[in-house]
């Protein structure tokens, strides 16, 4: 279904949703930093900046409770968290590089084990994508086969038009329902041209060649050259739309506490650190290798997809300038 929505009507739509108790998550400024966060009013929305963190936390939270416990005398009682309590959410202004990661994550969270926490949040989230008009030299969505107008993952997709407003098209029942429920705010599509879309600089990688090289080079001296300077923080993984490792921790006192699921990152020294003290990934290059392998080989092996959407966030935040686009490009040329 193709429609047109003016900026004003989009704002009205969001304010209506907020008033009805739906959680509306969109890019907004938090203490000077653009982030996807729940809006209290559509006026807070900022559409001209790429949020610093990806949209994944709407369905894969930074941290969430998965169980609570209480102790009394010699008894312990445990209560579960009911996924039915997750709020209905509309996620608005999601860039393609974020939205395209969603089906990628769906694959892993509904594979052999169905992660009810992830899946229930996904079910309750409507994704309103936004064609991308901004790119810097860290962006490389086109290099990994996506585009600034890619609609994968979006339930409803907005394309900003010359003269204001958005062309919008639904790609799912959820998207359609959003239009139908607020029909008066949508108009028939018009003929205005879209704003010029972003043009990332990187040329398309040959991801098959990348995987082919990775298949053969688990051990390779170039890993040291690539990642000796990695300092082992989790910034790259935490801002990534596709990274999805998590850690389970119990926090609380002798009397009561919670079991929590928190984001984890393969850059951390504690990642895969065994209780015995042994760590198979005992050096930073081995941990960074896992990041590349997971994104361009392991995930492909299992699900036939690449775990990178070229958003460039990790390149921008890396304290030591590790550039995944450059690394993958170089790998792609190794077999030539």
């Amino acid at each position: 279904m193709q429609k047109y929505i003016s900026q004003q009507n989009l704002n009205t739509l969001l304010d209506t949703l907020i008033a009805s108790g739906t959680r509306v998550v969109a890019p907004r400024m938090n203490a000077g930093t653009p982030l996807y966060e729940p809006l209290t009013s559509s006026a807070e929305m900022v559409m001209d900046q790429l949020p610093r963190r990806s949209a994944k936390e709407a369905y894969f939270p930074v941290c969430e409770d998965i169980m609570t416990y209480e102790k009394e005398g010699q008894k312990v009682s445990i209560s579960d968290i009911d996924p039915a309590r997750f709020p209905e959410t509309v996620l608005v202004g999601v860039r393609p590089c974020d939205a395209c990661a969603i089906p990628v994550l769906d694959a892993v969270f509904s594979w052999d084990y169905k992660d009810e926490f992830f899946l229930e949040r996904r079910r309750k989230t409507t994704i309103v994508g936004l064609a991308c008009t901004i790119a810097d030299d860290a962006c490389f969505c086109t290099a990994v086969g996506l585009s600034p107008a890619d609609t994968k993952g979006s339930d409803l997709f907005l394309t900003p038009l010359e003269g204001g407003g958005y062309a919008c098209e639904s790609y799912s029942d959820k998207g359609e329902a959003l239009i139908n429920n607020h029909n008066s705010l949508f108009n028939d599509p018009n003929s205005a041209a879209s704003l010029p879309l972003a043009q990332p600089y990187m040329e398309k990688f040959d991801l098959k060649k990348v995987k082919a090289w990775l298949d053969e080079h688990f051990e390779d001296p170039s890993w040291d050259a690539i990642a000796l300077r990695c300092v082992g923080c989790g910034a790259c993984a935490f801002v990534c739309p596709a990274c999805h490792c998590f850690d389970i921790v119990d926090e609380g006192t002798e009397k009561a506490g919670k079991r929590r699921k928190n984001w984890d990152a393969c850059g951390f020294w504690k990642f895969t650190h065994h209780a015995s003290g042994h760590n198979p990934r005992n050096q930073q290059p081995k941990r960074y290798r896992n990041r590349i392998m997971h994104k361009f080989k392991y995930y492909d092996d299992k699900f036939g997809q690449t775990l990178c959407t070229g958003c460039g966030r990790c390149i921008r935040v890396c304290p030591v300038g590790i550039d995944i686009a450059q690394i993958v490009e170089e790998i792609s040329k190794k077999l030539e």
């Binding site: 998550v25 939270p61 930074v62 941290c63 969430e64 409770d65 968290i81 009911d82 997750f86 709020p87």
Partner: protein
Amino acid sequence: MHPAKQKHTFEPKIIAFVCTWCTYAGADLAGTSRMQYPSNVRVLKFPCTGRIDPVFILKAFQQGADGVLVSGCHPGDCHYIAGNFHARRRFAVFRKLLEFVGVDLNRLQFSWVSAAEGGKWVEVVTDLTEKVRNMGPMTEFKELATEEQWSGAINTPELKEAFNAI
């Protein structure tokens, strides 16, 4: 349930970190002298103020303390030669940090109370209790403790209902 507590609308929770040789003994002396003071204080005993980590103060506030007292031997009286001198520097700096992040320093008291100063113990504890009682509850850390990242939040209709009922 606690009829005696109706005297005041708010009973602050005061946590005291004290050294065993001077202040703990001073508090013992207040007891043997049958001096009276507010019952709000809970005492944690350490060998020396030198052992008291700033993290403990932070943890105390996070666990709901409305006021924190750190007390040890007078300068020169340290059972361990210089532990209180190290503590003095540590806390001189730490309180400035807490102040900078927005903790009202009226809630954090430091004192020297010797084993002979039962009266001073009573005075310090009473003053801090009354001061904090007048300030009201320390809400900052308690609020933080209940806050979640938006992404992990869940609907809590009963809480919302209770909130609306207020």
